[in-house]
Symmetry: C2
């Protein structure tokens, strides 16, 4: 299958591209390197050093004998999107190319607006370009479990059957997103569903949980193929951050009471889920939603898992929650559709935790402890980033 | 009360500003005149001639002795928004300032993107500016009944209690918007609800039905105070368009089978509803939704009402529906909250229809019959506007 991976230089985009390439697909990657640009803005770096995309692609060809074509440009530039689709002629497009950090979107007005415009316009350009060229192209779009928020009823996969005043319908599951970033994903989901309805496009919205881990079968084949690992207060996700805190002897910082429960998955399962979605495309005009996670944990539980797995001494500290969210809540979310397609999950056990801790340990000298604390406050309209230089943001 | 009316030069913004001014409020209007710009793009004009905003304001002062302050600028320019809030110091903001035509948003990619960016960014700038200055300012935002689409269950006012697998929660009503414009309103609603949650803002989302009529108690005081009346295929709404077709002897064009049912209201009720919302503000942090319409009619019924009210001969013609929508469907939507606040509706009777027909008759020489037919096709990614000049759009 000819597959274009948008955001193919990122944490998940790059390993997904390699995985699909190794599985025999013809893969192109598209990126504008804005994720690397955010690092400059924040004064932080990926814990694991990452090579330039051009070198990654060269090394992959040397190591595997497989070619991956790279396209450099921005999805908000519709001519670029159109040109890439014309040149590559994909059968499927995997769309990771969005600003994906909730705290980043909450820094201030400019970052909120940037996040929504970037994500929504990029996706609109893609929808139009696909509709104009070949509506049969399967769009696999990365959404997030955070679109649902934490309702007091079970979360279903995208849609819910509602019986109300004696009548019944199946409707889009109500959304209660918790940041301007999560809101941008909700906007995308609505736009994509509509495009499927009016133009007969085929799309899969992967409402992904929080991903942990860094190594995949392909990225470990050569140091140049490593994917990034973020632990900072803006882009670092919770489990990876806890592993860094354990290794550098920093207390594991749990936001608030830590009863916040989230769907989680191993980075290797992201790759498997994307491929399963690609191999089983939806029907013409179908907009389908898969909840892409394998297990749920509360933040408190995750901290305890990491503390138990780490051989040294680890303390857990509760800090004021910078977000506006329920710190204790009901959480039960369906996630059977990908299992039905054959997903065999990597569950979160001590072995996986030890392998993440080992990655961190190898690069412990690169950790900037000043970058870990959360500095973006949801309740404020403007926050200052904790940069390692201590310089104000602008 | 000090009230800022955004989009105060438009079809509903202008009469709302006058109504609030006459009712004793201190009123400022904000506009960037982009609605008048769309007329140039489309080669059409308001059926009723409208004066420049500056002249409207002068005449209003002469006629009523009341001052309305005008601010000219664009909400997507955040500095302008901030400056206006600083200068005027409103207690409430009524936000009409969005691209409000579904067909306009469906012309092509550029118009879809423009509509979503314009509407979403303008509202984001406003939310930040209010939160930074005075979170107690009440935002009254114009939404649309079209956010809900046509579910097969009753539509509630913004929220619905759902019992699912033995648990119950009150959640945002699921949205199924029918154009990139309607989608932009759904995006806004989600953003506003979130801003109320994190910053304690107070907002009322008025999910308005289709408005008909042109004359209000204030606009009829002087010809300079008239508001616009659109009948073209892009900005003309259904009942006003039928009245024009009846007067010029054109068949009333019903899209498809005409079973499309919509909530409707008289322009005078828009004014009353906005004031009722203003006089009864929500609590701190509350995001509330009122369904702002008074009666429901199918398109077929509306055509019959106009045909019956018009003294001359009228024929009804069914044309292929340019939209992607259900042509027959269940429709029952709650609309009690504004009635509970004291709304006394102007229902659609022969007298109202005759008064609209009389307005049209007075300006029948200004009708361009070539502008009435729908030319924007939902199923196409690009449509050409029917301009009176016959020139291509670009």
């Amino acid at each position: 299958m000819r597959i274009l991976v948008l955001g193919g230089d990122g944490y998940l985009g790059w390993p997904t591209a390699l995985h699909l390439s190794r599985r025999g697909h013809e893969v192109g990657v598209v990126d504008n390197f804005v994720r690397r640009q955010y690092d400059f803005e924040m004064g932080v770096d990926s814990l694991v050093p990452i090579a330039h995309l051009q070198r990654r692609v060269r090394t992959w060809e040397e190591v595997s004998g497989l070619a991956v074509e790279a396209f450099v440009g921005d999805l908000t530039d519709h001519r670029f999107v159109e040109k890439v689709l014309d040149r590559f002629g994909p059968e499927a497009v995997v769309h990771f190319a969005e600003q994906r950090s909730a705290p980043y979107s909450m820094i201030d007005r400019a970052h909120a607006t940037y996040t929504q415009v970037n994500n929504v316009v990029g996706t609109l350009n893609l929808l139009y370009a696909i509709a104009e060229r070949d509506p049969a192209v399967h769009l696999v779009k990365l959404g997030t479990m955070g679109e649902y928020g934490t309702p007091n009823i079970d979360i279903e996969e995208g849609f819910i059957e509602i019986t109300h005043k004696g009548r019944t319908d199946v409707l889009p599951y109500p959304k209660q997103p918790g940041s301007f970033y999560h809101l941008s994903k909700v906007h995308d989901s609505h736009n994509i569903q509509f495009a499927c309805r009016i133009w007969g496009l085929r799309a899969t919205d992967l409402n992904q949980g929080v991903v942990y881990g860094q190594e995949t079968d392909e990225t470990t084949m050569h140091p140049d193929l490593a994917t990034r690992f973020d632990y900072d207060g803006v882009f670092g996700t919770v489990l990876n951050r806890f592993c860094v805190q354990a290794v550098v002897g920093h207390p594991l910082t749990v936001y608030g009471r830590g009863g916040q429960t989230r769907g989680m998955l191993d980075i290797r399962d992201t790759l498997a889920c994307v491929e399963l979605a690609l191999l089983h495309p939806p029907a013409e005009g179908e907009f389908r939603v898969f909840n892409q996670f394998t297990e749920s944990f509360s933040v408190r539980q995750m901290a305890e898992l990491v503390a138990d797995a780490y051989p040294g001494r680890v303390t857990i500290e509760h800090v004021a929650d910078p977000r506006v969210e329920k710190e204790e809540h009901y959480y039960r979310a369906a996630h059977t559709k990908l299992l039905d397609l054959g997903l065999v999950p990597h569950l979160l056990g001590p072995a996986t935790l030890r392998s993440i801790l080992a990655v961190v340990d190898r690069h412990r000298d690169r950790v900037d402890p000043g970058a870990i604390a959360p500095t973006v406050q949801w309740r404020a309209t403007e926050s200052t980033l904790a940069t390692s230089s201590g310089l104000p943001r602008r």
